[in-house]
Subunit: 587 residues, 2 copies
Amino acid sequence: MLRTHTCGELRPDHIGQTVTLTGWVQRTRDKGGILWIDLRDRYGLTQLALEEGVETEEVRAQARELGREFVLSVTGKVAERHSKNDKMPTGGIEIRVEKLEVLNAAKLPPFLIEDETDGGDDLRMKYRYLDLRRNPVRRNLELRHRVAQATRRFLDGQQFIEVETPVLIKSTPEGARDFVVPSRMNPGEFYALPQSPQTFKQLLMVSGFDRYFQIVKCFRDEDLRADRQPEFTQIDCEMSFVTQEDILNTFEKLVQYLFKEVKGLEIGELPRMTYADAMRYYGNDKPDTRFEMKFVELNDVVKGQGFPVFDAAGLVVGINAHNSAMYTRKQLDELTEFVKRPQVGATGLVYARVEADGSVKSSVDKFYAQDELQKWKAAFNAQPGDLLLILAGEPNKTRKALSELRLEMGQRMGLRDKDTFSPLWVVDFPLLEYIEEEGRYFAMHHPFTSPKPEDVALLDSPDTIGEVRANAYDMVINGVEVGGGSIRIHDRAVQARMFSLLGFSDEEAKAQFGFLLDAFEYGAPPHGGIAFGFDRLCSLFGGADSIRDFIAFPKNNSGRDVMIDSPSPISGAQLKELSIATAVEKK
Amino acid sequence: MLRTHTCGELRPDHIGQTVTLTGWVQRTRDKGGILWIDLRDRYGLTQLALEEGVETEEVRAQARELGREFVLSVTGKVAERHSKNDKMPTGGIEIRVEKLEVLNAAKLPPFLIEDETDGGDDLRMKYRYLDLRRNPVRRNLELRHRVAQATRRFLDGQQFIEVETPVLIKSTPEGARDFVVPSRMNPGEFYALPQSPQTFKQLLMVSGFDRYFQIVKCFRDEDLRADRQPEFTQIDCEMSFVTQEDILNTFEKLVQYLFKEVKGLEIGELPRMTYADAMRYYGNDKPDTRFEMKFVELNDVVKGQGFPVFDAAGLVVGINAHNSAMYTRKQLDELTEFVKRPQVGATGLVYARVEADGSVKSSVDKFYAQDELQKWKAAFNAQPGDLLLILAGEPNKTRKALSELRLEMGQRMGLRDKDTFSPLWVVDFPLLEYIEEEGRYFAMHHPFTSPKPEDVALLDSPDTIGEVRANAYDMVINGVEVGGGSIRIHDRAVQARMFSLLGFSDEEAKAQFGFLLDAFEYGAPPHGGIAFGFDRLCSLFGGADSIRDFIAFPKNNSGRDVMIDSPSPISGAQLKELSIATAVEKK
């Protein structure tokens, strides 16, 4: 190696040794007749010292020419540090420089390579290789590495085998949009990039692999939101001869292990909540359970008192924001504005305060006398100082809006601490959901999810089909769905029926999934699995909101990599060879 | 779990316990009043017994209906086995079946699910999920998993960080053909799938990641030969602040570790051979060194004796096949046919035998007297019983042909044992090679490889440019290149010059690799790396010739996955959305 030690390695024990370090110039200072240089590498920061009359004038002259981010090789003696710094692991020593070599010069970076940088998002993306030098960004990717290693260690210990499934597969109409790849050798035909290895992992179960996993790239050509990437990574898992209970237990242990290994935290047993309860109490199938603030339904309490908004509403429902009665008019107006945003979708907000004397003061006192308001207080089990926030309207929309308001209040009340983790299982999802615009049922999870045996009879009538529950489950942490899965269908007839319910003709089902239907005829075992969003899991562990911070080279919201300037046009010769043409005018 | 134990788990210690097993019916026999079933899962095989008058007639009736590959759940008592089988781990016990449930029936598989199967390649590919049930195929993928786990464990221990680089990148003209992906959001533009993460791993070095690795899918749209796949997997690695020596030492240790962990073998230190010696002694930059049989150059020995073929040849060169003088006329004719094949390319074969009395008998005795032939014998250091095989012609072609002959003889003489491993480093590759048809130099490794500092001056003259050696190295095992890499260029000016030597205009270089050239201006450290062909490494460990056996779902020679029938046409709506059209008539 061009170095004897890293920049994070030297301690007072090394004093007197001659060492060679390599790294980047973090900063230089000239103070009190001493030139100081902080040299940085992945492992840490080491202080170099060049003192007038001690170190040679030649090497001091060299040092004076250094700029930020120059790459150096430095040889010198480890010495006791002039002014010790207990906060730095190398804070007890410094290097008295005898020899200094510039391995590469550097232009002044377009933004500061510091924990807090002055670079905007776009600039940092264009120079991502410089952004990655910053400690917080590098630490995110180190964390990602540790989570991946720990995941593999755990699953390997549980006899899971990592099998690589293909990236060049086949386009399927169900689900999100596929990215496709024209085949040169098969003109007019296309591969697709996998949205997940779903069918392949099921085939591996048919093959008897028993326990499969893979940390694998998946691809969805969707319109990107802040927190979506066209390519993302899953921890993809499947097991044979299991019930839902076995899967929950196995992967609960995985997540406990990861929290312990990566965060040093014992998260304990994961509570379970039915989808129905999650919707009823949180208006959300991924409830943030770091705080309670459960929904309280008020139809029985508030109706028939002459307030037209409540009387006309399908659902009146509220939350109790403890100790928030001191909210000002301005703050309450902000909340009203918040719930009226199109993304939230409520028409207005009713609030009520419980005063110190136990009386209730509401924004609709005109319609409700104090004894009526005392019933509200009882329904919420509210105490003096509590603030009750109530929405009304069409039930589903109202629950959704109240869920947003609940999260907003949780945020405002400091109940959503990034270092607190509240994982749970949400179970008993509906099998199908009716999408109004499409006029048909869609698989809520995916078409391979099995119905609960006790609900199968409900599939027979169009009136009850929406009530069928699936053997499906999500793992939710802090309001984020980190993983989801199901017990799969392993019976050909059931799978064919499912395709038919989803509007596939027999021919379409055969053309798209014939291989899977065939496979089910040759001895498919009962099986099920789960997939975790790996980027999301890492961002959760890292306490960040965006998965982008945990991806080395992410794409922007237009799906572009602005650093390498991709996508880009390709040559006419390439197009011709692929037997395709672009059907757009180039701008 | 639906089972209490696996089919590989039960031992005489378990006798008397009631257990539940699940698995596939391997075979059934009815003999001596007992129905025998072999039940199989990934972990092994367990014998089930249903005896007349002991087990119930009801369960025996069920058992009689079972076919091959039915999926069962079986409950019963572990008993001492009727006839013990020491070769099976479970050979001491059997299960006396009390309850039997068919979890899924199976059609008769299209080929035998046995170690030796009757299924042809095409059939097995179409029903790959059944082929994967066979022990040898499953064991290959288990081995692959172990190699991957061990690789990660080793590199993690050496402070390498696994970083995922993007799959949707940018098409580049150098190298093999890219697979491309039309971008819906950027009409007329395309992503490309990476042939390797080369530039990204170099950028990670510029970012200070210091030690990077990734087990990563790569893609090349090349015409497929038996042993190539459009998607393949690399162990991709890069290190900063290193010399070639550091890289060789680090990855020699990785491969030693893998041999130890996966094969239980100590392979010792890897010898090093220059490219020049490899070509001189083996006619091949990936010599199979499991056996010697080095080339002996004979120009000085054989010329000027009136044999026109030798006199006219640029090179006369041969090998000594020890103890093969007993080769018959027919065998020698076969060898002559062999060297004349177009893939080998020689025009004829001269041979000579060393007789028991030390005299030499050659196929060109007409031109060479015995005292001349004795000089041949001396040149080859040949002993009685040896067979000398000699080719002549244009030097490069002749070396290549003799290399093929050497391998053929090694095969015939049993010197290429699959359980013997002879790894080595080949070093000092040329930087550039001139491709006659293209009329220009190409990078022998890739455009990012650095020249040896002592050879840089040779770049200045067109006469010596081909002599420049690179800081490039390959790891070769048993005649297979399992890995290759180089110390990279980290200086912008040198990199720009390299692009120019390779025929890039400044504009082209900037358009394609501007981000890398830019990155080199912001403090790029000296760095280098290596990539191992992971599929190839696994097939070598597994003793197989084809990488296809070590890929769960490989494609055929037309790049098709015949199981899922991909690639396939996509809908007009999909094409329109992607702003492309297919430029072929559909057949």
